[in-house]
């Protein structure tokens, strides 16, 4: 690490390339989404794309700085970074600016503002990696599990208080990390089952759902009646499901806020309010669907350019991709993400150090979760939850935090032969 040549030695250039490609796609689509004949140039600080260009420069510089750091420092600083982030998350609840119902921003002056919840993502990943890579720490053990849950849960709780449902849910993606580190697969199955039951329980009469579940369980039990262990598991699962279904109804009716209920209702097709609450989603689907195979062409989208789609440069940026680049462009973009995520898993797996591997899985899970929720939301597969599309959505905090998230891994990977101890 002492000579200049080694700074970029072993850097995974393919990942960097994908990163740059995604940033460029983002810049072009923001340009198109807010295109204005008065400001035709792509670099114009009066416009969002002009600002985004600056953010990209800043992000790249930050990335380079990270590559210059000692890998060891990242692990050592993890608690401090986590601590600062938590403090900022607390601070934002006191002095933060309330934008659109979420108290998520700290004003930095000059029109710039910081969103601590974005930085909480890599901070949590770092601390999680550091803790889990410690000796004698096993998620399968209760004490370790509880500490792990606390590391993840604390920032979640603070973000939930803003309240920013989208960013809160992002932390759920870390379950993949825990699974990789030995958490029982039942957790994954249960989470999957809960999502399934949640939808079913809202859509249908709980009594019918329970009856159907019971019948299904009975058939399985009869088929595998010799397997005692399975029978017990199934029975436990059934009891759990029934309890869950009732609690879903309770949560849905008593805990969820009206706008959240409406969003869920719209996704599930219970209500259709195309002019009011369902307007955003409907226009978003129209934008993407009207792109057909090849799209309407760069700067030729009508849905996004004529502001039928709201938030067209931030959360709904994928509408511009879908409308102007069509199915072909959408597949290319999703392909890039999939490629990036699989590459990240590969990178994580080639680490000798558990810290780097755990962190790597954290990065892959967080990025995957953002892509799934953001795109799923614009095409009506998941409720409208405001989280950005990584590297593409307009916004400095988001771009910067994803860059830091990714480049820490690239840095760790460049040093993969070494061992980082907690």
């Amino acid at each position: 690490m002492n000579n200049q040549r080694s700074f970029f030695f072993n850097v995974d250039w393919l990942t960097v390339l994908i990163y740059l490609a995604l940033c460029t796609i983002g810049l072009l689509n923001i340009h198109s989404a807010v295109y204005d004949v008065k400001h035709p140039d792509i670099i114009d600080l009066d416009t969002n794309y002009g600002k985004q260009f600056i953010y990209i420069i800043v992000a790249i510089v930050t990335g380079i700085v990270i590559l210059l750091l000692e890998s060891r420092i990242l692990s050592a600083l993890a608690p401090a970074i986590y601590g600062i982030t938590v403090l900022l998350l607390m601070l934002v609840l006191v002095v933060g600016r309330n934008v659109g119902g979420n108290q998520a921003w700290i004003s930095l002056g000059g029109g710039f503002r910081l969103q601590p919840s974005e930085f909480a993502k890599f901070a949590t990943c770092l601390l999680l990696a550091r803790y889990l890579s410690g000796t004698n720490v096993k998620v399968t053990e209760l004490k370790s599990f509880l500490i792990t849950a606390a590391i993840i849960g604390f920032p979640m709780l603070l973000i939930m208080l803003q309240p920013d449902m989208g960013s809160t849910l992002v932390f759920c993606s870390l379950i993949f990390v825990l699974y990789r580190e030995g958490l029982s697969p039942y957790f994954l199955i249960i989470v999957g089952l809960f999502i399934f039951l949640f939808v079913i329980a809202i859509l249908y009469n709980p009594l019918y759902v329970i009856a159907a579940l019971a019948a299904f369980a009975a058939i399985i039990m009869w088929l595998f009646k010799r397997n005692k262990k399975l029978l017990i598991t199934l029975l436990a699962g059934l009891v759990l499901s029934v309890a869950f279904i009732f609690s879903v109804k309770f949560i849905y009716n008593n805990v969820l806020q009206p706008h959240q209920k409406v969003r869920i209702d719209i996704i599930l097709g219970i209500t259709k309010d195309l002019r009011g609450k369902g307007y955003n989603l409907n226009q978003s689907k129209i934008a993407i669907g009207s792109g057909k195979l090849w799209g309407k062409g760069y700067l030729h989208g009508t849905q996004t350019k004529y502001s039928f789609v709201p938030e067209q440069s931030t959360d709904f940026i994928f509408c511009t991709v879908g409308e102007e680049w069509g199915f072909a462009g959408s597949v290319v973009l999703l392909g890039l993400y999939l490629f990036l995520i699989l590459r990240l898993i590969m990178i994580a797996e080639r680490q000798r150090s558990p810290f780097s591997r755990i962190y790597g899985y954290g990065v892959a899970s967080v990025i995957f979760f953002h892509v799934m929720i953001n795109i799923g939301m614009t095409i009506g597969l998941v409720p409208v939850i405001g989280i950005p599309l990584p590297f593409i959505s307009y916004g400095g905090s988001s771009l910067l935090s994803f860059t830091i998230l990714l480049f820490i891994l690239i840095k760790l990977d460049s040093n993969r032969m070494g061992m980082i101890y907690a």
Partner: protein, 658 residues
Amino acid sequence: MNQFFERRYVIAGIFITIIFILIARLYYMQIVDDKYLLYANNNVIRTITKFADRGPILDRNGKILVGNELVYDISVIPKQVKPFDTMAFCKLIGMDKAEFDKRFLKAKIQSPNREIIFDKQLSPQLYASLQERLSEFQGFFVDPHPVRAYPDSVAAQFLGYIGEVQPKDIAKSGGYYRLGDYIGATGVEKAYEHILRGQKGVTNMMVDSRGVAKGSYANGAYDTIPIPGARLKSSLDIDIQKLGEKLMQNKVGSIVAIEPSTGEILCFVSSPTYDPNLMVGRNRGNNADSLNKDPYKPFFIRPIGAHYPPGSSFKPLSALIALQEGVITPQTTYYCPGYYISGNRRIKCLEKHGLVSLSSAVAGSCNGYFSMVFEKLMNVSGYKNISPTFTDWRTNVNKFGLGSKLGLDMPNEKGGNLPTALVYDKIYHKCGWRSSTIISLAIGQGEVEATPLQLANIECTIANHGFYYTPHLIKSVGTKNMIRPEDTVKKYVGIDAKYFEPVIDGMQAVVENGTAIRSKIPGIVMCGKTGTAQNPHGEDHSVFVAFAPRDTPRIAIAVVVENSGEGAHWAAPIASFIVEKYLKGSISKRETGITPEYFMEANRLPEINNYSHKPKGKPSPADSVKNIKKNTDQPKVKSVFHKNKKDTVKFLAVNKGK
């Protein structure tokens, strides 16, 4: 390596699966489902229709009967309105403040960003004063838009009017019309709608989510320019049309004049009429309402919609058929004792004509002669075989255009009535009727009924010695003056040309020294026939048919004045003025002293009670006679009027229970 190494595949598998679910959903939305593109276009494309100018309609000499005039619609984009002098604005457009506030609020609610119609159809005068100060009223815009204008206010029923399309028209047009479009509702406007309307143009604009225009769609690739409607040259002569409408004012009835050599309709008066300009502009609704409530029904197109027993005007036709069938010759004579006995019926004649020939029977309108001829004709195959004989006769009459539509190029034409043998079989049972039963048909009474158009067409046929052209209102279409091929087809009625002369002789005598002597035109030989159409509801209708000049007929005419008694009193003089005006361009002083002014001023409107057919009020035919006597100092005329009796017999069907 870590003990949970293989779990990477599970995680990667989940990620891949979910990404592919997203791609599958995108595939469905973007490739399979077409509705989103449609919705996107509906969102962003606003189609603005550019209306084509409606084609003008000219008279036969190129004078404009109906053209277009620009009126001005004021629209407003509420968001662009800056504070301004509301009172001054209200004064300029002639609106009170309360109405202004109401409309402005309504526009604001409708859409603050879009152009909304604020006030419709400002006159050019109002527009001129508004235009000077329009810059003070930001957010208000004025758009010109053509409406129908009738410079001479004539020929209302002929031209018809336009109105907003009805849902059934929209359905029939296969989407051409949109709600709020105008379409020809009656008359020529309706009949020639496809030619007059032209072709609408469209401009496709792109708008943003607030409805603000953002420029043209696809650089105008799908825009079309409106194509103005073609002009129509009608066959109408505006001068005699105007004269006819004046002569018929305060009367109920019709004038139809046709050029025999072409079938072109020269004059088409339906009275009472209305100013066609009433059916245009801001007060159209109110005007239409009061016209609809008018008990004399000005919207009723009498020349083609009203039908009357032709009365004595039917006699020339009767004679022609008898000549063709060979039951009489021009030399056949008959001694008229002042009445005619048929079966146990006694038909009164106008007077004791004495010995009459065919021509003098026509001239004197001898009921006896024509009853005799009719009975001879009906009994050629024996009185028991009347049914087939009658059917033959009916066919011959029908060839003249009676009993079926002539096919005028105008909607709502009626065919009149010409009974079939079946009708009589029904009334009197099979073989229960004889020539005496239907003797009233001989003199144009009874069940036979004709529209004024059909009556005029019969005169065309006589003038042409045996054929006619389908009457039509439109001479030619477009600047190239295209003529419809069907208008140039001669329709023969099956009577040899040689039989016409003796009948025409009689008709000439009608005017020279017969019933219509008072209406003789100096220097023009007019051949005509008076008639009196029986009216069970009140005073009889005055009918006169004619053509002139005899040798080279240029005009055939039918005039009906309802509830006015003798054809000679009202219909014939009116017809004579029209004919003279058309042939000579002016009306000369008459020996008889009758003047157009007298007829223009005379009021022959029936009492509303009588007209609406409620009580069977007793008319007093004597009144009209007295009036004429008082106003005309012509002894010759008096002598004709002296023996005035209705040249009609009772409606025979009524007496069937004898």
